[in-house]
């Protein structure tokens, strides 16, 4: 890891004179508090760090930096976000410089906290296959396999699909085990009424902070979000599960065919609400209907931006 970091620093230092800012990660006050780092001068490079505890999808910053020369440190999944943003012309390829890194998976920080049983964390360290957590009660080691983000278990490519510079490829990958049961799996096994009750209970916990929206790299409407518009008035401000579920439906439908399942919405949620499941369900359907996955091909048009007169996989419900 150290060696990779050195290499990354060197690559960024070389390109920095041509760039306004480079987006990377740094460690916060404790190792659970990974934070984005905005590198504008060579001095900033000392703070740079990357590894399994650095989880943010930095591509979320790109649309707001359109028009400037931006460098960005990128894992496989983040590169899909970048491709999707390029497809939608929300960013320009010639304005961004991509520093690809070999990824070994990202840790689900919520799971690490759970594994520490609510104990105060003194330090957290991610090794190759384990995460070790030091609490007042001592050191605990957790297999990496148990605390990864959901997306990492089925990661199609840990190497970025596009990049301008690449930190030396790592060989081997430690993610070999089975993915744990996902929320979507659980929902699939339920009857409709239980599913409805599941969301009612989940939304009851939602505090309407909209962190899920703000963290989403594809939520780019900013101040014109329909959730906050008074005219038309899509959602009212009452604190009840109906309005909150309506907001989740808005987020899911507005990212349908665009969402790359980066998981930022769910990661950012302070209440631990598994809202990614809705988006995964839509993606599954879109894959089936249009044979399409978001953020894979820069030349492709997202499926809800277009149509075919004869849709191969849509069977008309009635004879015409």
């Amino acid at each position: 890891m150290v060696q990779h970091t050195q290499e990354l620093r060197k690559l960024i230092a070389q390109a920095l004179p041509e760039l306004d800012v480079v987006l990377a990660w740094t460690s916060g006050s404790n190792q659970l508090a990974s934070a984005p780092l905005f590198i504008t001068a060579e001095d900033d490079l000392d703070k740079l760090d990357f590894g399994p505890m650095h989880v943010q999808n930095l591509a979320a910053y790109l649309p707001s930096l359109k028009g400037r020369k931006v460098g960005i440190v990128t894992r496989g999944c983040d590169s899909r976000t970048i491709i999707e943003l390029l497809q939608e012309k929300l960013i320009n390829r010639d304005e961004i410089t991509i520093f690809g890194i070999p990824c070994t998976g990202a840790v689900n920080i919520r799971k690490v906290r759970e594994a520490a049983d609510g104990q105060r964390l003194r330090s957290v360290e991610a090794g190759k296959d384990i995460v070790s957590v030091t609490t007042d009660e001592g050191v605990r080691t957790i297999p990496m396999q148990d605390v990864l983000m959901e997306k990492c278990y089925n990661c199609p490519s840990q190497t970025p699909l596009i990049h301008d510079h690449m930190v030396t490829e790592r060989n081997g990958c430690h993610m070999t085990g089975e993915a744990p049961e996902s929320t979507l799996d659980k929902l699939d096994a339920m009857e409709p009424d239980a599913r409805f009750a599941f969301w009612e209970e989940s939304m009851d916990r939602c505090i309407r902070c909209y962190a899920c929206r703000n963290a989403c790299p594809l939520c780019v409407c900013k101040d014109s979000c329909v959730a906050q518009s008074r005219d038309p008035h899509w959602v009212d401000l009452s604190d009840n599960p109906r309005e909150k579920l309506m907001f989740q439906a808005i987020h899911a439908l507005h990212t349908a065919g665009r969402c790359t399942e980066c998981g930022e919405c769910e990661r950012a949620c302070p209440m631990g609400i598994p809202i990614l499941a809705m988006k995964q369900a839509l993606n599954r359907r879109i894959k089936h209907l249009f044979d399409y996955e978001a953020g894979m091909d820069m030349e492709n048009t997202p499926p809800l931006f277009m149509f075919r007169q004869q849709e191969e996989h849509i069977k008309e419900r009635d004879a015409r």
Partner: protein, 154 residues
């Protein structure tokens, strides 16, 4: 003239102005008996049907939602219903994962001259919704009434 026994259920219909609304009119002019649970909202085109209209209708207490427009190829605006078809197919999955049975939602194409087909569509869909019964609703959540809806809109 409710054809079905018992209580009416709440079914919302989003109809395109050019074909299906005309089709419903034709059915009326032809005096075809139909169940009366459906409340029709006329729109310029099925391309205007934001899938969120359907979600909002269900969350506000609809038991079924029907969307109907011109046959593919006959859209007054050339391609509105082609876009609608993709969106509404995707919507089906969202309803499903939310716990609203996708059978409560139906979209179809009825032209202005197809009064008989319209009657059939409404009768079949209404019967289906009656079979499913009232949709699930939130327990600790005041229902949306015309009054609260109006207030929210102000």
């Amino acid at each position: 003239m409710p054809v079905l026994e018992g209580k009416e259920l709440r079914i919302v219909g989003f109809l395109c102005n050019w074909c299906s609304y005309g089709g419903a009119d034709t059915a009326g002019v032809g005096r075809f008996a139909q169940p009366t649970d459906l409340r029709i909202i006329k729109l310029p085109c099925t391309g205007r049907v934001n899938p969120l209209f359907v979600v909002r209708a269900f969350l506000n207490g609809a038991d079924g939602v029907l969307v109907s427009g011109c046959h593919p190829g006959d859209c007054h605006y050339t391609a509105g219903n082609f876009y609608a078809r993709r969106r509404l197919e995707v919507l089906r999955e969202l309803l499903d994962v939310m716990g609203i049975q996708p059978e409560r939602f139906h979209y179809t194409w009825v032209s202005a001259s197809e009064g008989q087909k319209w009657k059939q569509v409404v009768s079949d869909f209404t019967a289906r919704i009656h079979e499913l019964g009232p949709a699930a609703s939130f327990s600790n959540c005041p229902a949306v009434t015309v009054e609260t809806g109006m207030k929210a809109a102000i």
